[in-house]
């Protein structure tokens, strides 16, 4: 066991080190807090504008060029976009740190952070990618009906499937890695050994 009083005691060594003291004033910290909130609002706004643009372009196709069953792809894309925008709004990705940051022990907090990341990885495909799938499939089917099935169309279809499967597989792989860490932290929280 180390000698607690020796000058080479790690606690003395650590606490006696020179560190650069960065101290924000109250005014500064308030300014930064509002800047952060503004940045988050702007980011959300950009996402809504992008969604609105997709909706307007698809609606324009419906109104000006398409009739009957040919309207199916843009209608599905509009519905998918509305669903994704609703999910973005509901999930409020604007988060920095949860409000109970000072109430939770740091092991539990760490576990909850990892669980949040894992759930985001596992869940993103079904609320961010899947809603667009019906619209894309319908677009390919319509193109096949209108111009016949050719190698290019098949290639595009295969590419969509590969991208989709690849994203899901990668996310699941990342989630499984996080699962292992989460289990270790759970053991630390409960194990008295």
């Amino acid at each position: 066991m180390p000698d607690e009083m020796s000058p080479n005691d790690p606690r003395n060594l650590w606490q006696g080190q020179e560190v650069e003291k960065v101290i924000l004033t109250v005014d500064e910290v308030q300014r930064r807090a509002s800047r952060f909130e503004r940045r988050v609002r702007n980011r959300n706004l950009r996402e809504y504008i992008a969604g609105a643009l997709v909706i307007v372009l698809s609606a324009n196709q419906i109104v000006t060029r398409l009739h009957g069953w040919r309207m199916t792809p843009p209608v599905l894309i509009i519905l998918g976009t509305i669903y994704v925008m609703f999910q973005l709004h509901r999930r409020g990705s604007a988060r920095s740190l949860p409000g109970d940051v000072g109430l939770r022990g740091s092991i539990e907090f760490h576990r909850l952070e990892l669980e949040r990341q894992r759930d985001a990885l596992r869940g993103v495909w079904h609320w961010y990618l899947l809603p667009f799938a019906p619209g894309l499939v319908a677009t390919l089917v319509m193109a096949g009906i209108a111009r016949g099935i050719n190698a290019r169309l098949v290639g595009v279809g295969v590419m969509f499937v590969l991208i989709f499967v690849g994203v899901v597989a990668l996310n699941n792989w990342g989630a499984r890695k996080l699962d292992r860490k989460i289990e270790e932290l759970k053991i630390m929280e409960t194990d008295d050994a």
Binding site: R11, V19, E20, V101, G102, S106, I107, F109, A193
Partner: protein, 169 residues
């Protein structure tokens, strides 16, 4: 000045240096370390809105600081992956021989920065002078687990620092 502002000012005055050391434990790059310190202070100011004296100021400040630093570390790890190890793995590794007494602090800092966040918060709390009970309160570890960790940390530090300096001497 609001109570939130007052608490924030008191916290940075009393614990500013400790927060600087904590940031050093989580971030090796000096510029990013400055960012992390600012991030911690921002989180502290925000957190004081819900403080309501629910624990000691020290425990609150350390919890918020560690939790913010953990979020930081996990984000940084995604963008800049590096090999982190647990206390047990580090304990099983041979001590590098080429250490000078003057480099003891660098060695200590390097050791802290190599640890997984879950072990890093324990060693940082120990180095800041907390006992096993306080570490348990800060981290949420059970008292027995916290005491075991502290015991292991003491042995690991003694081995790393004393073997290194003995070799240099």
């Amino acid at each position: 000045m609001s109570l939130q502002d007052e608490l924030f000012q008191r916290a940075v005055e009393e614990y500013g240096a400790a927060l600087g050391r904590l940031a050093r434990g989580y971030e090796a790059d000096p510029d990013k370390r400055r960012d992390l310190q600012q991030e911690i202070q921002l989180a502290l100011w925000r957190s004081f809105e819900g403080f309501h004296g629910r624990c000691s100021l020290r425990t609150w400040v350390y919890r918020v600081a560690h939790n913010t630093a953990i979020s930081w570390a996990t984000q940084q790890k995604r963008s800049r992956p590096q090999m982190l190890v647990s206390l047990e793995e580090l304990d099983a590794m041979p001590v590098p021989p080429d250490v000078d007494r003057r480099l003891a602090l660098d060695r200590l800092t390097h050791l802290v920065q190599r640890l997984e966040p879950r072990d890093r918060q324990v060693i940082l709390a120990y180095l800041e002078g907390m006992d096993a009970a306080a570490i348990g309160e800060l981290t949420g570890l059970s008292p027995g687990n916290a005491a075991t960790k502290v015991h292991r940390i003491k042995n690991l530090l003694a081995r790393y620092l004393n073997e290194g300096t003995a070799h240099a001497g």
